[in-house]
Structure formats: structure tokens, C-alpha cells
């Protein structure tokens, strides 16, 4: 797989996010490499999820949230991209699997249908492709018409990944995707991330140090200052961060001394 090491999917520039007067994120500047897995780590409440939700502008849904700075996707400011187009190209996986109370098929077909795909043949094709990509096809191919809620937690999460992949995104945002899953299901998700890397850029928020170390190429470590605003301590290649952290704080955190 040929990957341009200098290709940047996102360029976050001086991003600050506010909830009313409370500053949740302070002046973050961070490049996100194409077709790499970037993990965001840091103690609870340091604004990791807020940061992640900035990439597909999910923060816009929360009243009283405002932001400064900008995020460039490829060459465009994400605020200049139509919100529907942006969210179509930047998929999101949530902390708790959130399949719709519909059939497995309908869950995966939901996105394409929302974007106007009507032909059944085409939908079936997309559903199969997406389920294969998320390594769920073999487990569910005989019961596509069964409710998605009948699946196990790990399967539900992979279904959510298939659902996101069905609209052909080039980025996947994952907000602690394995925190509600058992270790085996969690490993499956990590394997899946590696398989998907060639197609999508992945940004993952995680509480699990080993997961970040195992599964990601780049790591960004966030902390919060005295005002409880999150800031970026350092970022770099995962191997470097975990072996030669540049800051004492990072070392303390990854060795489990706080957080």
C-alpha cells in the first residue's frame, strides 16, 4: 500500500471550543495524516470527545456551543462545506453502539437511502459490500431482515461501522468505540481499523492506553489546564510517544500515574 506520508487529511488550526463562557478546548493545532490511525488520549474531561465532534460539526447540535479557529479538510474549511456533504464524508462511531431499531439491512441501507439511492439492487450491493468491509457479513448474511437490536454488543458496533461505511466516507471518527465491549469484541474492532486504513483516515478517542499503543500510527495527548480547558500536550508517531515521550506529563499519563 502506497501512502503519501505527507498527505494531510485535516489541518486543525488554533481550534478553541466554548460551551457558553466555559472554554472546553484551548487553541489546538494538529495535523491529521491521510489513511493513518490517529488516537486522541488524555484524562476524562479534557475535551477529547468535543474535539472529535468538531470534525463533523456534531457540536453544532448542542445549543450554546461556539468555536474559534478552523479545521481544514483536504483544502477546504469544514465550515464552508455543506453540512450534509461533510457528514457524509466524515463518518462517526459512537461510544455505545447505536443501531436503529430496524432490520440489519435497513440499518446499513439507511445512509444510502437518505442520500437518494432507491434501486433495490444497488442497495443490496452496498449493504453486502459494507458488511463485508466491517467483517460482519458472514455472521449476519442469513438474517439481514432480523432486528439489529438482536445482535451482540460487538456485532452492533461493527454494524454501526458498516452503516457509516455505506455512504463512502473518507474519514471515520471513533469515540471510544470499544469502551462498552468485551476484550475480544474490542480486539475485533482494532483489527477492523487496520483493514479499513487503506480506505479511510481514522481518528479514535480512547481511554485505553494499550489500545492506542497497539492500534494507532499517531497519538495526540490532551490534558486540561487549571481552568479545565483541554489543550494539546504533544503529538507524534505512536511508537515515539510511547517510548520517548517529549513531556514529563505524557510519560506520567501513559505509565498510569494519573488520569
Amino acid at each position: 500500500m502506497d501512502i503519501d506520508a505527507n498527505c494531510e487529511k485535516f489541518q486543525v488550526e488554533n481550534l478553541s471550543v466554548y460551551y457558553d463562557d466555559f472554554r472546553a478546548l484551548n487553541n489546538i493545532t494538529l495535523p491529521i495524516k491521510c489513511n493513518q490511525i490517529t488516537s486522541i488520549i488524555g484524562p476524562s474531561g479534557c475535551g477529547k470527545s468535543t474535539f472529535l465532534r468538531a470534525f463533523n460539526r456534531m457540536n453544532d447540535l448542542i445549543p450554546h456551543v461556539s468555536s474559534e479557529g478552523r479545521i481544514i479538510k483536504d483544502t477546504q474549511d469544514i465550515c464552508d462545506i455543506d453540512i450534509v456533504a461533510l457528514r457524509k464524508s466524515v463518518g462517526m462511531i459512537f461510544q455505545r453502539p447505536n443501531p436503529f431499531p430496524k432490520s440489519i439491512f435497513e440499518n446499513v441501507a439507511f445512509g444510502p437511502k437518505a442520500h437518494g439511492v432507491k434501486a433495490m439492487v444497488e442497495l443490496e450491493d452496498i449493504v453486502e459490500k459494507s458488511l463485508r468491509l466491517s467483517a460482519l457479513w458472514d455472521e449476519v448474511k442469513d438474517r439481514l431482515d432480523k432486528s439489529a437490536l438482536s445482535l451482540s454488543g460487538g456485532q452492533q458496533q461493527r454494524l454501526c461501522i458498516a452503516r457509516a461505511l455505506a455512504v463512502n466516507p473518507d474519514v471515520l471518527l471513533m469515540d471510544e468505540p470499544a469502551s462498552a465491549l468485551d476484550p475480544i469484541a474490542s480486539l475485533k474492532i482494532e483489527d477492523l481499523m487496520q483493514d479499513l486504513k487503506s480506505q479511510v483516515t481514522i481518528i479514535i478517542v480512547t481511554h485505553n492506553m494499550q489500545q492506542a499503543a497497539r492500534a494507532s500510527d499517531f497519538t495526540a495527548f490532551f490534558n486540561m489546564d487549571e481552568d479545565r480547558a483541554g489543550y494539546l500536550v504533544e503529538h507524534g508517531e505512536t511508537a515515539r510517544i510511547f517510548t520517548f515521550p517529549g513531556e514529563k506529563l505524557t510519560e506520567n499519563y501513559i505509565s498510569g500515574r494519573f488520569g
Binding site: F100, A164, V167
Partner: protein, 306 residues
């Protein structure tokens, strides 16, 4: 006093306390149990009395012949059953889209709109308060309103249409409130999941939120059906009371509840009033059972363990 005596005394005191607590427990239990029994007994007594007085006149002929009018209350109740059915269908058809639509606006859209404009915020608040107040207004007030507006002013006369419009106004608060509650119980994660796929808000509301809220909304509608079947005063002043079968929605008619009232107040056929009342009660009971079955099966279908 030695330590030993003290501890024996303490033990005895503990025992007394325990015994008293037990007595209070048992007494409380009996009291609550009695309350329950009395409540249930009263309901069964009323139902039993009506049925015992009414079942005697019920036979196929009573159910299938038209009322013939007159002070002796000749005839059966066939037209009133059909009229009640017409009335229920027409009222629900009018009230459901309005009520569910209003609830969708209040839950999904009013919040954003209120933040953008003070006037909208005020109107939304007024609407919410209005719904709360309307839910507690006696039905005869809705009847008088319907009589003044639909029957007289709009010249719709005593008709199925006037009655259904007034009935719709009566059940709107119920439908709005139950639908609002149902929409509120839909997890935010469903909405986020849909929006994060690039689906528009409209698409999200109609394809994810609304389907998930259906069991709750259906419960509200079935409750309203019960209300329409049972109400009398409101239809007395809007539906009229003709015992003929309405041919169009502009005709007057007589629902079962109205028939009970008219038989009881204007004829000597008290047994037939009781007979009609029995049918009414049986239908209400069946309706309530159907709510349970319906909402359980809808929920089961959603969760997927049929």
C-alpha cells in the same frame, strides 16, 4: 445496675421495638390492601350492575335493528354502533395528523426556533401552556365552542363533521401530550446516528425518531378513541341526536353514549339504556385490552424478539 441487667433490658427494649414495627407493617399492609380491594370492588360493582341490568335485552335483534324513537324507546341500537364508528374514524383522522405534527414541532423544532427568536419562544410557551389547560377543560365547554363555531357560525349544522371537529379539539391535548412523551423517550443516540450519516433533520425525524415513537403515539390514539366513544355532552350539542344512520358527514346522528343518555332521560326504556351501556362497556374493555396487546407487539417488533 450491673452490665448484665442493662444488656437484658436493652434486649427486651429491642424486642418491643421490633414487635411494634411489625404491628405497624401488618397494619399498613392491611390498609393498602383494603384500599385496593375497595377500588377494584367499586369498578366491578358498577360494571356488574350495568351488565346485569342490560344483558337481558341484548340479543341479535337488539344489535341489528334501528332505534324507532318514541317515549317507549322502541327498536334496537344498530345505527348508533355504526354512527359511533363513523364518529371515531373521522375524529381520529382529523386529530392525529394535527396532534402528532404539533408534538413533532414542539419536541424536535421548537427548541432551536425559540433560541433564535424571542417571539417564537413566547408562542411556543403559550402553546405548551394552552395544551396543559385544554387537557383539563370539561368536554361540555368544547361542545359549546363547537356548537358556536361549527354548528352555528360555519353553518355546518348538527352533523358528523361538526361533532368530529369538536371531538378532535377535545382529544388534541391528549394526542399532543402522549406523542410528545413518546418522542422524548427516543434516545438521542438514534438522532445523532442518523445525523452523523449526513441525513437531514427532516429525514431523521421521519425515518428514525417517529417510527421509534409509534408505540407511544398509538397508545395515545387508542386512549382518545375510548374518550370519543364515551363522551356524551360534547356530542349532544354538536352531533344532534337523530337516530337515523348518517348518509354523509353533514348529517346528524347518535353515538352509543348519546343513545344511552337519550334513552335514560327521554324514554321509559331504562333496560335498553342499560343494554346499550353494556355494549359500550364491553367495547371500552376490549379497547383497553387491545392497547396492551398492540403496544406490546409493536415494542417487540422494534426490539426484534417476536
Amino acid at each position: 445496675m450491673s452490665n448484665q441487667t442493662e444488656s437484658i433490658l436493652a434486649q427486651a427494649k429491642n424486642k418491643r421495638n421490633l414487635k411494634r414495627q411489625n404491628t405497624v407493617q401488618v397494619f399498613g399492609y392491611i390498609l393498602v390492601w383494603l384500599c385496593g380491594i375497595i377500588a377494584v370492588a367499586v369498578v366491578f360493582w358498577i360494571i356488574g350492575y350495568v351488565l346485569s341490568q342490560g344483558l337481558g335485552v341484548i340479543n341479535l335483534e337488539f344489535l341489528t335493528t334501528k332505534p324507532a324513537g318514541g317515549v317507549s324507546g322502541e327498536g334496537g341500537m344498530s345505527t348508533t354502533i355504526v354512527t359511533t364508528l363513523y364518529l371515531v374514524i373521522l375524529t381520529i383522522v382529523i386529530a392525529t395528523p394535527l396532534g402528532v405534527g404539533a408534538a413533532i414541532y414542539l419536541v424536535e423544532y421548537a427548541g432551536d426556533a425559540s433560541r433564535e427568536s424571542k417571539l417564537v419562544a413566547f408562542l411556543v410557551k403559550a402553546a405548551r401552556t394552552g395544551v396543559e389547560i385544554l387537557a383539563g377543560v370539561p368536554s361540555i365547554i368544547f361542545g359549546l365552542f363547537g356548537f358556536a363555531l361549527f354548528v352555528s357560525y360555519l353553518k355546518l349544522g348538527f352533523s358528523l363533521l361538526s361533532a368530529s371537529l369538536s371531538g378532535a379539539a377535545l382529544i388534541l391535548p391528549t394526542i399532543i401530550r402522549t406523542s410528545e412523551e413518546a418522542l422524548h423517550t427516543v434516545p438521542r443516540s438514534y438522532r445523532e446516528g442518523s445525523l452523523s450519516l449526513g441525513a437531514t433533520k427532516w429525514h431523521t425525524v421521519f425515518n428514525v425518531v417517529l417510527p421509534s415513537a409509534i408505540p407511544g403515539i398509538v397508545t395515545g390514539i387508542v386512549l382518545s378513541v375510548g374518550r370519543i366513544i364515551a363522551e356524551t355532552a360534547i356530542f349532544w350539542v354538536t352531533l344532534g341526536g337523530s337516530y337515523y344512520l348518517p348518509k354523509t358527514i353533514m348529517n346528524s346522528g347518535r353515538s352509543m353514549a348519546l343513545h344511552v343518555y337519550m334513552l335514560a332521560s327521554e324514554t321509559r326504556a331504562f333496560d335498553k339504556a342499560m343494554g346499550t351501556a353494556s355494549i359500550l362497556i364491553i367495547i371500552i374493555i376490549l379497547l383497553n385490552l387491545s392497547i396492551n396487546i398492540l403496544s406490546r407487539s409493536l415494542t417487540a417488533r422494534m426490539i426484534g424478539n417476536e
